[in-house]
């Protein structure tokens, strides 16, 4: 069944499910079917934005991994156009099931996300949803006042609206080879007066909530919150990365990152609602090693592994909405169910997830979320594909390990090497990384990309020479 067909059958499937359920109820027995539908049996959970009174669905739609016509996302088929029909259907389903927060950016999907989002949303009354987009003036050519203003005006045009509900300064805290994080922040938002201009736009009603998304240097995050305290700028919301791995272990994974617990606490104690990105850490928390999946399934056999991560991200009360970049209808259906309504993580479950996080930190995976910000690599590498292949091999336990069973080792080695060639064309593999480090400054996870690529290349080379 393809996705469209699946969609068509959604309605009838829902009816069928409720019939089965009522049958169970009348029997009074808890059957496996009843257990299968712990979640998704009620209404979407909403949180209220104290600044604007917006009632926002706990699940927000991230528009950065839109489906493309040739299947998958742009990462799979970089030259394929967006599958607008599917995007429309997904947005229809989302609205129908109570979702009302849609987060896009001029940078997403090779710049095609805003238009696709606009087309899909314009088919519905403007007051039934909130649009979030960003000032994504990363390139120095867009730092001028005019260029940045144009970017914002263009967003309105693409999204077919006269106001943005949630406007973010996109990804503060980064740095480049030439500029440190403060200099870069000033160049993008202060020196050109664009932040003040945005405040004016808010006053004029063209922006309803003004906030920022943060990655990287925590000093910038702290500085912006200090401005908030001083009354210099008011932040209606802030977007941060939060999941059960980053909660305590962000700095263990990378010492330039900051634990989500700190970020959340800083926002919560000021009453600033938090929008959550990377609840699944780029899908990594959905594909976990067998021994971890086992522990989760021993608790709830029928709950998808990813649901634990969504429940965790949605539990703290200061969270306004949790963004998920859902490409496939199946993920959308599953995530809507997760938050309809939210089953908050109990204290005991929280301790369980912290223990799980501890185990994940020990894995030699690369904390890449496949956001593709590092791309394109000027030397042709497919960086996210290399990392995701390596991570997948580590987590699904298919890496050749020094087991005593020589035959199994050789079989695993062959699979790893053949799979590597199949997944990534030879010219885009890690062996071609020259270590120029141009990618490094773009990585929101602060991964030392060249070092990790060289590590993977050494590993592959060592396997080949066996």
């Amino acid at each position: 069944m393809d996705r469209r067909e699946f969609l068509k059958h959604m309605g009838s499937a829902a009816v069928a499910t409720s019939v089965v359920l009522s049958a169970c109820d009348s029997n009074g027995n808890e059957t496996p079917i009843a257990k299968n539908v712990i979640d998704g049996q009620g209404e979407m959970t909403y949180r209220t934005n104290p600044n604007s009174g917006d009632k926002v669905s706990l699940l927000g739609y991230g528009m950065m991994r839109l489906p493309v016509e040739e299947g998958g996302t742009l990462r799979d088929h970089p030259d394929s156009p967006i599958d607008q029909e599917l995007v429309n259907q997904e947005i229809d389903y989302a609205l129908e099931h109570g979702m009302n927060y849609f987060d896009t950016s001029p940078a997403y999907c090779k710049g095609m996300s805003e238009r696709a989002t606009g087309i899909a949303l314009a088919r519905h009354p403007r007051d039934t949803y909130y649009i979030a987009t960003k000032l994504s003036n990363f390139s120095p050519s867009t730092w001028s006042t005019e260029a940045s203003k144009t970017m914002f005006e263009n967003s309105l045009k693409e999204l077919q609206t006269d106001h943005i509900d949630y406007l973010l300064l996109h990804s503060i805290g980064g740095e480049t080879k030439e500029l440190n994080s403060h200099e870069l922040f000033n160049a993008r938002f202060i020196d050109n007066g664009i932040l003040d201009w945005l405040v004016d736009q808010k006053a004029a009603g063209r922006i309803r909530n003004l906030g920022f998304s943060y990655h990287g240097d925590v000093n910038i995050f702290d500085m912006l919150l200090q401005w908030h305290d001083e009354g210099k700028y008011h932040w209606d919301f802030v977007q941060i990365e939060l999941n059960y791995l980053d909660w305590n272990y962000a700095d263990e994974l990378n010492d330039r990152n900051t634990d989500a617990r700190y970020l959340y606490d800083e926002l919560h104690r000021r009453g600033i609602p938090a929008v959550i990105m990377e609840p699944l850490l780029g899908g990594r928390l959905a594909s976990l090693p067998d021994h971890i999946v086992k522990q989760m399934q021993e608790r709830e056999p029928e709950t998808p592994v990813a649901r634990w991560a969504f429940r965790f991200a949605g539990t703290p009360e200061g969270i306004l909405t949790v963004l998920s970049g859902m490409t496939y209808m199946e993920h959308l259906v599953q995530n809507v169910a997760t938050y309809s309504p939210l089953r908050p993580i109990s204290e005991e479950e929280d301790a369980f997830l912290m223990k799980i996080a501890e185990e994940i930190v020990e894995l030699p995976t690369v904390p890449c979320t496949a956001c593709n910000y590092c791309m394109p690599c000027p030397y042709g590498l497919n960086i996210p594909a290399i990392f995701s292949y390596y991570n997948k091999s580590v987590t699904d336990g298919s890496m050749p390990t020094g087991s005593h069973d020589a035959k199994a080792y050789w079989e695993a080695r062959k699979r790893f090497l053949i799979g590597y060639d199949r997944t990534i064309p030879a010219l885009r593999q890690a062996s071609h990384c020259i270590g120029c480090s141009q990618c490094k400054e773009h990585c929101p996870q602060n991964i030392d990309i060249p070092a990790e690529l060289h590590r993977i290349d050494d590993y592959v080379e060592q396997l080949k020479q066996l």
Partner: protein, 488 residues
């Protein structure tokens, strides 16, 4: 009976040689390599006296059975001749041998071999001619099939077939192969074994022995009714039924005449004996060509589905002009390779790293040469040295390979991205398997940078640096061949 045995042996030989040249089957050279090693010219060049003696003794005992059941080019011609026979029956007539051309060319060929004039040797070595046909024409078809299967495998999470690159390694060799196929095919359809009995130096050499062979086709004049069917079906045009004679220098012992004689007047025997062979049905020799061509269309559709990331465009590498060609480790020296190689393309077919290709240089015409645009000579691979039937690439171990210096790397400052793109690199040094490259300080236009320096004493010329150099289309570091491979 003789014909039946001949056809069975032909099918076996052809299958093995073709599998070997296509590289099908799990390390096929380990169990089918012998079929290349018993080929006459490679054995001569490898100074494989055992095989040479065996082939001469076989010719003395049985006649030119080599030409019928060992030589793949001969078998290929029989195939075409068989097709010709389907179109027009009983089409041959006795013809006198063209002595001038036959022995004159043989003389020229022997002189060419003695003075080591490779182009002539390689062009007319029959096994090599067939090798080029398989390598240039059949292998791409097989590779298409392979890639199609690899696509299916990948879709089903299996790991039996891996995708390979399909590319024409040398246009010249490709053209030579096509011409060989067309000319020999047409000749075989028209005049049967004319080529083998006029041009082929191996055929001429064996004819010196076959004329004295113990077993031979003999006429029983009492039984002969002068119907002429034997002569009309002799693809060597060696039977003169009116005279009751067979030219044993040209008879390739195919057995067709024996089957065609309805009067039991011909026997393959040492002396007169009497037996009546029954006619056999024509064997169906289903050559893979038809099937492979049919598979092509499907395979193309499969490869088109495969996309790369479509990320930054990667320019193809171009081969630099090397002053000295690089020959594979084990080939000892350019001269050694030139003298021993018959250009059968077995090593080229076997190279898993897309390094070997036939040379277009006239003096080393179609003999293997190395270049690194698509891959490099990986340290764990010694495949070409294992398969070579002619001793042109001598067998070496992985350990030996680490001390054989087939070439040396040369840095081209003008291409180096450290200077042209103002980035740090060092990919050559990072991947040098012998640690022959060190990054050293260098005063560039924008300050001190790190550039590669090659220690020629350590460099083995494997081409890892050249292949992995980010500069395109010409690498900033490339390998020059060594005339004679240094060992240390």
């Amino acid at each position: 009976m003789l014909r039946k045995i001949r056809i069975c042996l032909q099918i076996i030989t052809m299958t093995l040689v073709t599998l070997l040249l296509l590289g099908i089957g799990f390390r096929v050279h380990l169990w089918a390599g012998w079929v290349a090693k018993i080929q006459f010219l490679p054995a001569i060049l490898a100074l494989n006296f055992g095989v040479i003696a065996l082939l001469i003794v076989a010719a003395l005992l049985f006649g030119r059975i080599y030409c019928s059941v060992v030589c793949p080019l001969g078998i290929m011609q029989d195939f075409f001749s068989w097709i010709g026979g389907k179109v027009k029956k009983n089409r041959f007539n006795y013809a006198k041998e063209n002595k001038w051309l036959r022995y004159g060319f043989f003389g020229v060929f022997v002189i060419a071999m003695i003075i080591g004039f490779a182009p002539l040797t390689t062009l007319f070595a029959p096994y090599s001619a067939y090798g080029r046909i398989v390598n240039s024409l059949f292998k791409p078809l097989y590779d298409l099939l392979n890639n199609w299967l690899a696509g299916l495998d990948a879709a089903n999470d299996r790991y039996n077939f891996t995708e390979v690159q399909i590319w024409t390694r040398s246009v010249t060799t490709f053209v030579v192969a096509i011409l060989t196929l067309i000319i020999l095919g047409a000749l075989a359809i028209w005049k049967g074994r004319l080529y083998c009995n006029t041009i082929c130096p191996v055929g001429t050499f064996l004819s010196f022995f076959s004329r004295f062979s113990l077993l031979r086709v003999r006429f029983d004049k009492d039984k002969c009714k002068n119907c002429g069917m034997c002569e009309k079906n002799c693809k060597a045009q060696a039977i003169d039924f009116k005279e009751g004679k067979v030219d044993y220098s040209r008879c390739v012992v195919c057995g067709d005449c024996l089957d065609k004689c309805k009067f039991d007047a011909l026997h393959y025997t040492a002396k007169r004996t009497s037996s009546s062979p029954k006619p056999v049905d024509t064997e169906r020799r289903a050559f893979l060509v038809g099937a492979a061509v049919a598979g092509t269309t499907a395979a193309l559709a499969q490869t088109q589905m495969k996309v790369d990331g479509g990320l930054a465009v990667i320019e193809d590498k171009k081969a630099p002009e090397r002053k000295t060609p690089i020959t594979p480790p084990g080939s000892v020296s350019i001269r050694h390779l030139e003298k021993h190689c018959t250009a059968c393309q077995l090593c080229v077919s076997s190279c898993p790293n897309n390094v070997l290709r036939p040379s277009t240089d006239l003096m080393h015409f179609m003999q293997p040469t190395m270049s690194f645009e698509r891959g490099y000579c990986r340290p764990e691979c010694t495949r070409c040295s294992e398969v070579c039937p002619a001793g042109a690439i001598k067998p070496i171990s992985r350990e030996e390979k680490t001390i054989i210096h087939a070439g040396h790397a040369v840095w081209i400052k003008e291409n180096c991205v450290v200077l042209t793109d103002d980035v740090s690199c060092g990919n050559c040094a990072r991947h040098c398997p012998t640690g022959a490259i060190q990054m050293i300080d260098y005063e560039g236009p924008n300050g001190t940078v790190q550039v590669p320096a090659v220690d020629e004493n350590k460099c083995i010329g494997c081409g890892a640096c050249e292949n992995l150099c980010p500069a395109r289309p010409f690498s900033a570091i490339y390998v020059e061949g060594n005339e004679m491979h240094l060992i240390n």
